[in-house]
Symmetry: D3
Subunit: 243 residues, 6 copies
């Protein structure tokens, strides 16, 4: 069986990771998963939110948003509607949790890093591209903070790597990294966030049409782990280059 765009079921779309895409941010990445493009910036500020003051620990959080015409038909701006929608909230929280899973807050010290993930163009998998790109921006921001001595000598706030991919069952076949058209037709849709050593940070599976069985769940997890392994390599390669 061949997919809409000619991929095999276990094949990712072409992934590109461009670092240093902003002259202002301490870390910045334009990541693409095929036609999905997300602009991720990491902003470092000294100090932490009030509830964490004096703890000696830092904080990492994220905000996700879609530009109004990142999608096929224009959506209203949430700023104009005056409130953040449920989906936006949910994805922002997911990105934040995913990145916090690989942070040693003691090592970060009382600094805050905010990851802004703005979708410039959407074609499925925006949240997984956001997590994968935000990790790279976060790594660059931490290197910057180390250079500025905001993070103390000899400490490494990053405890691992993290990437994410979507998987789903379309016409009964488990597929890796769904594009929008596949996502719409998926019976089951799952987003999986993995660390570089193959463990799970988040597993979010949803039956869109039919409930899914245990063996389907297993097949999807297998695909996702494979995908994250490839994304992990792409992140390492991007970070290995000189900025």
């Amino acid at each position: 069986m061949s997919r809409i765009d000619g991929r095999t079921p276990d094949q990712l779309r072409p992934v590109t990771i461009q670092r240093g895409w902003s002259k202002h941010a301490e870390g910045s990445v334009l990541i693409s998963f095929g036609d999905t493009k997300v602009f991720c910036t990491a902003s470092v500020t000294e100090g932490v939110p009030r509830w964490r003051k004096g703890s000696g620990e830092g904080w990492v959080t994220a905000e996700y948003s879609m530009l109004p015409r990142s999608t096929n038909t224009r959506g209203d701006r949430e700023a104009v509607r005056g409130k953040i929608g449920g989906r936006t909230h949910e994805i922002s929280r997911l990105i934040g949790r995913s990145l916090r899973a690989v942070i040693d807050f003691k090592a970060l010290g009382e600094n805050t890093i905010v990851l802004d993930c703005d979708v410039l163009q959407a074609d499925g998998g925006t949240r997984t591209a956001a997590i994968t790109g935000a990790y790279v921006a976060l790594a660059d921001a931490i290197t910057w903070a180390q250079g500025k001595k905001l993070v103390k000598h000899g400490r490494q706030p990053l405890t691992g790597t993290v990437s994410a991919v979507s998987v789903g069952i379309v016409d009964g076949v488990p597929l890796l990294d769904l594009c929008y058209e596949e996502d719409v037709r998926a019976e089951t849709d799952m987003n999986v966030v993995c660390t570089g050593d193959g463990r799970f940070v988040e597993v979010q599976g949803t039956a869109e049409a039919e409930p899914f069985a245990r063996d389907e769940l297993n097949a999807l997890l297998d695909l996702a782990v494979t995908g994250c392994t490839t994304l992990d390599a792409a992140q390492r390669e991007a970070l290995a280059a000189t900025l």
Copy 2:
């Protein structure tokens, strides 16, 4: 090993399901999972949201909320703060999706059922208790709608049963149905929504401290399926009684 409240790792807290707790709602349930108490009402209205008009299909949605003092320390009212928080949004959406998984919208016809799940007292597992209780309220509301001829003769909008439970790893041990104290200490926390025939509607696993391995995920899923089987029986028993 014994748990905080003396349960075995694979033991649910005592579950009670009281139907008919409201004189106004078409379906209503006060459900408790131990000290967690959620009041679920199902409200039937003729007609559907604008985007669904003329489709011949119905709609089911849910709203979740915690009373300000349902928790150990009082939380601000979202109505007073003027916006719904991210967690509330996320859980409302989860409840709605879970119930829609067992609805045949054609059979429901152009009717809308809103499930309101208000947490009167919280001790962990409020979203899973809400789903489990809301299913019973939904079933009663559908029976009511059939009696009122809103749903056509010979059609059954409910295509299955659905319940939910939380599982997590605490001190390295997989546990079923976490109470609040366990939830706070859990390394991994997962909410699982199952149909009565043992398939999955939602699987949401989050590493709170450490990423989790595949075998840990499997152990948690096993526990969850066991728990949902028991909850499914409790729902059937509750619905078998005369209202």
Copy 3:
């Protein structure tokens, strides 16, 4: 003349006051006036709002809300609409003022007590049931604060008791404690808040259809005082029991 539910004009509906309905709150009551059920919790926190800091005086405030399906047809959640409605504001303020009328703020010290009154089921008289129940929750919270030494030895913040009841003229007849059907048909509607010694804390009379004459006002006040005397006894009886 007999009323819809068989009561005499000067008869209250059955009143029940269940204390200790929440395991978390410092004071909690489920009160019912017939089919009207309000869940009242009292939350004690050390400290006072900014504008009162350093005064040596405490603060008592209240928030009232109706669950969306507490009424015959479902109402929108105020949190979802993003703002508190005028009626909710008005009743919250009334409850707060009524309870503050029997508080010695110096004796309370710099502590704040918030009364949350959430209507689980509405059948007329929700604000008066809320005041009557909230008083009992408040009394329990103060006892708790005394036990915790938040309130200094030998001081009694409660200076009296307070209860409330609705009265109205229906078909020309003054009636005590209107249920919803009576309330809708009332020509005049009045809510009266009394202390245990028969004085007034609030008198709010509204002509719904026809302006009312002085003698009608007097007849309504007579009824209200009678009703509050009975409610005062019910409060005392509830508080006399062991929690």
Copy 4:
């Protein structure tokens, strides 16, 4: 005993009612009760709110607001804070109810009249001045609507007159028409809305310091009726003049 401003206990402040203060509004009044000045406009539009369409009946509603520097210290604008406060809501509703008490909605036909009452300068009694002035603006707007044939020939939507005054107990003495300084010191504060024939539309009494006894309530009501009689005469005189 003499009052702060030299009045006797049963004396109103000087009342002025200037009609036609706006070139745009169908009815408009600048009313002053001493230093309290309220600008009241009545706006007529054909048609009624959605929930009243097809009823053949009209609608009257009101919005009250204080300019930010109408008070001694500047208050935040509610538009800037993004929400209407509880007190504003409460007073807007009170004004609306008071005016609706003297309207025959059938005679008004499907027209809506909105009364805007904006406090230009506050010195106590703003809500009672607003009601008293809004009545005059409303009367002029109805005359305008009759001239435009929006109201059918031979019908009189106004069924009576309405005015309002505050009363209160200060240092144990019942006083009529409290200015701000008296209002702040009042033990009991009451706002009374009367029709021209001496009946009550609204009675809102609040114990600010001490609960009040029945005889105090009676003394206050006596004063209020006297005051409204005088205000009624001032309204008639204003309306008798050529606009």
Copy 5:
């Protein structure tokens, strides 16, 4: 050519400036440009916004608003809609910038002056009337602050005078001080804020129908400077009178 109201092209409408229109505000003015009436108050408070603390410099800001029925058809209240509209924001910012142009913040010291400009009746040119009137209220407020020793001896925070006027091209003819009917028909509309010495603080020209040429721009600027010279004289005359 004669204008709608009989003026010559370079003629202002009658201007009146009444000082001391509020008993509470430190400076207050009711200004009229023909039928446009704006009530301007200046409120002085010690201290400055957080971002300016410790700078030794003061702050001046403004808020503009239209009463709902200041216009020909009633507009919704921004407080009720829960947000400030774009036009209101824009004009508030313009007024604030215009007044800050003639303030020496060092001389003002750490004091804040807020100008509230509320349009009671609108007939074109509300923003220019607001600036012109607010300047006078500001001058009175500064005199007050000097009297209270909030502003140090020998310092003059006002560095000049400022006034504003609208100009526009109607049917090809440049006109000064447009009334509403002219404004609606204008091909080009410009608001000009000048200091008393004939220099510019703000120039905001907008092509409403056709782009405008350089010579048209010049003709409009000539008219505006003439108008501001007259307004400057009116301000001086008003301020010369005893308050």
Copy 6:
């Protein structure tokens, strides 16, 4: 005198205009004025806002926004704060007016085009870059609409071209196209929107420090016209290329 970045006073920064930057939008442009980068999309929808229905005329509007980290220090998201700020409102309105100045609404027919201008990186002049880029996106969207027969044969909705540039006086010298550092230091700041034939659509000059004299204004307008002539050529060149 040499500028911060080595330009002469009348020199623009390097301008790039990349068309077709979005696969979804009917017109899309990434424009840069030096380090200022704005992503402009044009979205075409059939139909017009309610107030324009049945007029036979179309509508063009714009929304401007800055990504949170487009600036040197991260700004809060307006969607998170729940309201659009005054500056955002003002610039959105300016962009919309500027583009409407070159549209024949009759020729456009009842279609709406929304221009979204999202600042990816800011270094001064974001609003002028937005207008200049949005014009190109608008032109592409109109071509698209003509291809889809949404715009009738033989009609050209675009009546001209429009571009914009900032000018200002820094250290007494009039400069073209200010970068951020220059903008901050400018005594006078002006944004000018011109049509391709050298006429003005908008002129917005603001004295930031000192009021400006007529000859300064003239010098700035001269510079701006020169700049817009160059931008007009860049737009034509970009549109002449095959998409």
